[in-house]
């Protein structure tokens, strides 16, 4: 795997190179943004790591220039600037991820691996779950009822997905709680009721046919009709 690195600090550049070599990557480094653009050959590298504050052209300009000819190669920005505007600016100019200095090599490696994995995985086929007039687009995290999009929070979306994936079977509150939150969060059953109510207000409130049902004393299920 070939990685292109733009970092003007010689020591840091050398250390990153050493680390990447230890992880069996071939690392090619540049210290000047202008030079990198001049010598860049599209689709030659598997991954590009760019520092923002470098001589010549800065990392964001370099990223923008690369994206004109190369849309695929993942770009990871590496910088001392941690402001949200700096991050947004990087993403708007084609970066795929962002790592703030100082960082640990473990995290750098994790992000590189994640970006490479994403590159290799082909575009997922759109999976659509339909329950009567409700449509759930899982990959886009969108829910429609009677053709109208319903804005759900990530947790509410996860909840409707858990109910929808049960294919109309009743799910206990405990089961829902275990699926909804990871092992770091423990909740009581009342909390599940609160989130089911939030969901009901958004999914069922304005419709005569209710989709979310309660099985008293046990749990909840999602079905076209009772």
């Amino acid at each position: 795997m070939k990685i292109l690195l733009l970092e003007d600090d010689f020591t840091l550049s050398k250390e990153i190179k050493d680390f990447l070599s230890s992880k069996s990557f071939e690392c090619y480094s540049f210290y000047d943004g202008g030079l990198l653009i001049k010598h860049y050959v599209p689709d030659t590298y598997d991954m590009i790591i760019l520092d923002i504050n470098v001589p010549g052209k800065n990392g964001i300009e370099v990223c923008k220039a690369i994206r004109e000819t190369d849309k695929k190669t993942p770009v990871l920005m590496l910088t001392a600037f941690s402001e949200i505007d700096d991050k947004l600016n990087s993403f708007q100019n084609g970066a795929d991820d962002y790592l703030v200095k100082p960082f640990h090599f473990e995290e750098l490696f994790a992000r590189i691996s994640s970006l490479l994995r994403r590159k290799e995985i082909p575009q997922q086929i759109q999976q659509k779950i339909v329950v009567r007039d409700m449509e759930i687009l899982e990959s886009e995290m969108k829910v429609f009822r009677a053709g109208e999009e319903i804005k759900l929070t990530p947790k509410e979306f996860k909840l409707i997905l858990i109910l929808a994936n049960a294919n109309g079977n009743v799910l206990s509150k405990q089961y829902i709680a275990d699926k909804l939150w990871d092992y770091h969060i423990e909740t009581n059953q009342n909390t599940i009721e609160v989130y089911i109510n939030f969901l009901r207000k958004k999914i069922d409130k304005d419709h005569d046919i209710k989709l979310i049902h309660t099985k008293i004393g046990y749990g909840y299920y999602l079905k076209e009709e009772e």
Partner: protein, 453 residues
Amino acid sequence: MTLKNRISLLVSLLFTVLFGLASTLIFVLYANFRKEEFRDRLEIKALSNIKLLVNVKEIDNQLLKIIDQNSINKLYNEKTLVFDSNYHLIYSSIDDAKIDWSINDLKYLKKHKTLFKQQGDYEVYGVFYDTNDKDFYALISASDNYGKRKLLYLRYILIISYVFFTAICWIATSFTVKKAMNPLGIFHQKIKKINENNLDTRVLIKSNRNEIDLIANEFNFMMDRIEISYQKQKEFTAHASHELRTPLSRITSQIENTISKQETDTESKAFLRNILTDVNQLTELIHSLLILSKLDNKKHEYKEAYRIDEILFSSIEKINKTYPDFVILFGIEENENLESLLEVRGNKTLLEIAIVNILKNACVYSDNKQAVVNIRSQENNLIISVSNTGTTLDDEEQKNLFQPFMRGKNSKGTTGFGLGLRIVQRILVLHKASISYCTPEPNTNQFEVTFHF
């Protein structure tokens, strides 16, 4: 007493006194003028009576009385007495009015030629008339009803105008001074509200170029200088924090690479790990200082609304990367308007930093790696409580809890710089929210974040 009240009181008092003095002077001068004028009239009348009686042979007592009675110049309640050189009364007008006189009056008259005295309501004028062969004395008395009525009328006018205009003066002065001093009041209100978050406050200057405008102008110049130096100070912290990141990365990467090398012996690895821990702490401190320097910015009117429970969940996810054993017991209280209260307008990143810091605190200071997080609403406020069991803070520590670099006795053996809660408080203030600490039960620390709606 305020300057405004003092000026209006002084001006009003000054006017009251001066107008009072002026009115009194006018009255006294007019009273004297009336007296002089009436004396002149009495003199003319007395002399004319004597001359008619002495010089005109055809006129005797009876005729003079008839002339007196029909004279158009007759004074009100007039009485005339004429005496010869032996002080014998040779003529007395027919009026009922009386003149109290004595020989001494006539002797005084002979010596001083004229006499004028007040006798009850009447004024008496005496004149000594000297012909070649005989001396005559005339005493004439009358009441100056017209003059006195004019004087009385003048007195009423002066009293009424004094009361009326003094009252007007008090009201007008108070109003005018208040209006004139109004810019100073606005100035005062603006200055009172200035703090590090609104150093861009400036006072509106009108083109009057009066003293207040001049002060306001100088004040604005002063604020410019303060704002620039404050900005420079903040930028210094921000730039210094940025600049420190690259050498820290260099140190971290070199240490990590050396640790991972097989040829590095175990002792050196342990030594390098200790240094790495210190570097991590330093990184954390720089990160905190950078956040604090950025938080000094002015208050924003946040437009974007975020669900605070979602921010809480992502914060838990983040904290679990650093503290994988940390468990949150999460609860939410059902309420009719809870869903709308959960929508908080603000900066998502900052709110996440605040919640991560509170959770981190709960984790670091808990004795069982657990924290209880509850969301509830109370009187249209949203309250997030985070509690953990462990050593609690004493009263003195609680007072300084949100001060920078404050670390409690329970922080022994834990890493940190005492900036976390300071950052939390600053972020919450920016979001019109507040944080408080309490110990609901022995050995239980509880932080309550309240979002006010």
